[in-house]
């Protein structure tokens, strides 16, 4: 079966500095893969290359078997590739509802309509409320995004990505910046994602990684150190040295 997302030999350098080196990665349908690595390993750069924010120097990106390497970011998104940003990229001056409606509207072509009111298409609104409900944001629907606490804003960020009805979802540190009292909200959502979606999550928090991931890819200095199951990674001495050792985390203690 064709993989949902395939990255082949991706290379990217900024001037003389290579930031992504010959990366190969495969996400099957329903994948739950974590991308880990020390700071500066190039994790977000890799996501930017996959989503089309950056163009690679060489290599290919395939979505459901189709080569999307030459497509723009927006074109890739329209084909079912969604992402969240490490720092929220929301429409802060608009309500949560409108953030969602706009996303859905761009997806189903409603935003091509110059004539009817933005509130006229019920299916868009209904779907928006459904998404908000599954993320327990319905009560905030009519609030402006900038008035929400950061943790809730982070949920809106994920809601937008889900409203794109993606086949592949890339989450860039979804719990980053969220106070620990609210991080369970994020984690519950991530745990409850649709099993059909292929998910790649960049994370630093090993608890989250080991709870969520069925596979792990370790990135160091722009190159893949190794892929493996959580157990394999945990017991990999190389990984421990390079990464887990640095983090000083007891993630290796999980049984």
């Amino acid at each position: 079966m064709t993989a949902a997302l395939q990255v082949e030999g991706l290379n990217r350098a900024f001037g003389a500095l290579p930031v992504t080196r010959d990366v190969n990665l495969t996400l099957e349908r329903g994948a739950r893969r974590a991308l880990i690595g020390p700071n500066g390993a190039g994790k977000t750069t890799l996501v930017n290359l996959i989503t089309g924010v950056l163009k690679p120097n060489s290599g290919r990106v395939l979505l459901d078997g189709d080569d999307i390497t030459s497509l723009s970011q927006a074109a890739r998104a329209r084909r079912g590739l969604a992402r969240t940003f490490q720092i929220n990229q929301l429409f802060r001056g608009l309500t949560v509802l409108e953030n969602l409606c706009m996303t859905i509207g761009e997806r189903d072509g409603n935003c091509n309509n110059l004539w009817r009111s933005a509130g006229a298409k019920r299916s868009v609104i209904d779907e928006a409320i459904d998404h908000l409900e599954s993320l327990r944001l319905v009560d905030d629907a009519l609030k402006l995004v900038r008035e929400l606490p950061y943790g809730r804003q982070r949920l809106v960020e994920i809601a937008i990505a889900l409203a794109q009805k993606p086949r592949v979802l890339l989450l860039d540190e979804p719990a980053a910046g969220v106070p620990s009292s609210e991080s369970h909200l994020i984690l519950d959502v991530v745990a409850a994602l649709d099993p059909d979606i292929a998910v790649l999550i960049i994370e630093h928090d090993m608890d989250v990684v080991f709870r969520f991931a069925k596979e792990i890819t370790v990135l160091v200095q722009g190159a893949v150190l190794t892929h493996g199951t959580p157990n394999e990674i945990m017991n990999n001495a190389q990984v421990r040295d390079v990464y887990l050792g640095q983090e000083g985390h007891r993630g290796g203690q999980h049984g």
């Binding site: 890739r76 998104a77 940003f85 996303t103 110059l114 009817r116 509130g119 209904d126 409320i129 629907a141």
Partner: protein, 336 residues
């Protein structure tokens, strides 16, 4: 959440959006004032027409600047194209029918907007400012080059136009013209209002608020921008056409950078991205200019400069923004 709870949430959401887009009674105010002016100031009708034309021009810029968030310095180009479409048609082609002139101006200006927008809207910031400015100047220079056709800076004087619908003739005091311009403005405004409150208008706001996010959710940003730019150009063209018709005269000064700057100032004063900011800003500016520049042009220029500085420092969202802030302040007081 229960099914009925969800249903209630949906209703509330739909109601919220629809309510914001419905015509509010307060919106009748500017129109009532415009009609009242017809009766209260019958001897200032020619000036009144020019004010309404500026409102339309400012409205067209608000689409680009206020809603899509694109800053350009060459919007006067489209005003000029519309003005000259009608002027040249009347002077060289003996085409004097006013309504069809408006359509022609809209089409020509819109077309130029489409072409230039398609190329230029890939850029932002200083680059876009310079490109739009240079394009406008080049258009002006082209007109100057073929001053045999365009009349150069002396312009095309003595243009005549047929009576509206073959019936309403133009009187010396511009009464018919005023109502004509007001009617056209009303039609244009209706279209602009629909666009702004449509899903497309929402997308424009999205582009203004966070273009990065728009790309990430698959919005064809460039296409959206070219679309709104074309529409804005067409409307500016209609404003220009009305200018030529009401003045029976057009010169190359319609392309001046001064015009582009003037309309931007009007929008800032009134408040961008608020539809009625164009009304408020244009009226306030034109009235002040009319009064002060007669008193002393130098004093007027100093005043407008000072007003700009103060507006940026203390009233960034224009007069309407001030009203909103005041309104918010009282709303907060009521809550506590």
């Amino acid at each position: 959440m229960s099914a009925s709870g969800r249903e209630r949430a949906r209703e509330r959401a739909a109601e919220y959006l629809l309510r914001r887009h419905r015509f509010r009674p307060a919106e009748a105010l500017p129109w009532l004032i415009a009609i009242a002016a017809y009766f209260i100031f019958p001897d200032r009708m020619t000036f009144g027409s020019q004010v309404l034309i500026m409102v339309m021009f400012a409205l067209s810029l608000d689409l680009i600047l206020g809603y899509a968030g694109i800053v350009t310095l060459g919007h006067a180009a489209f005003f000029g194209i519309g003005a000259y479409t009608v002027g040249l048609a009347a002077a060289r082609l003996q085409w004097n029918e006013p309504i069809s002139g408006l359509f022609a101006a809209a089409i020509v200006a819109g077309f130029v907007g489409f072409i230039t927008g398609w190329f230029l809207l890939r850029y932002r910031g200083l680059t876009l400012l310079m490109l739009t400015l240079a394009t406008a100047i080049m258009l002006q220079e082209t007109g100057n080059l073929r001053s045999d056709i365009s009349g150069g800076y002396d312009g095309l004087p003595g243009l005549t136009f047929d009576p509206l619908f073959g019936k309403f003739d133009y009187d010396l005091y511009g009464h018919t013209y005023y109502l004509y311009v007001l009617a056209v403005l009303a039609v244009v405004f209706y279209f602009v209002r629909r666009i702004v409150y449509s899903p497309f208008g929402q997308a424009l706001t999205g582009i203004r608020e966070n273009v990065r996010r728009m790309h990430a959710i698959g919005s064809p940003v460039h296409r959206r921008l070219v679309t709104v730019y074309t529409i804005a150009a067409a409307i500016a063209g209609v404003a220009g056409a009305l200018f030529t018709q009401t003045n029976a005269y057009v010169t190359l000064t319609v392309f001046d950078f001064d015009n582009s700057a003037k309309v931007m100032v009007m929008l800032i004063l009134g408040g961008t991205g608020r539809l009625y900011g164009a009304f408020l800003g244009a009226v306030v500016y034109m009235v002040l200019e009319d009064y002060f520049s007669k008193l002393s042009p130098t004093f007027w220029q100093f005043g407008i400069g000072l007003l700009l500085v103060l507006a940026v420092l203390f009233a960034r969202r224009g007069v309407l923004g001030l009203f909103e802030s005041v309104g918010q302040y009282f709303a907060e007081r009521k809550k506590s």
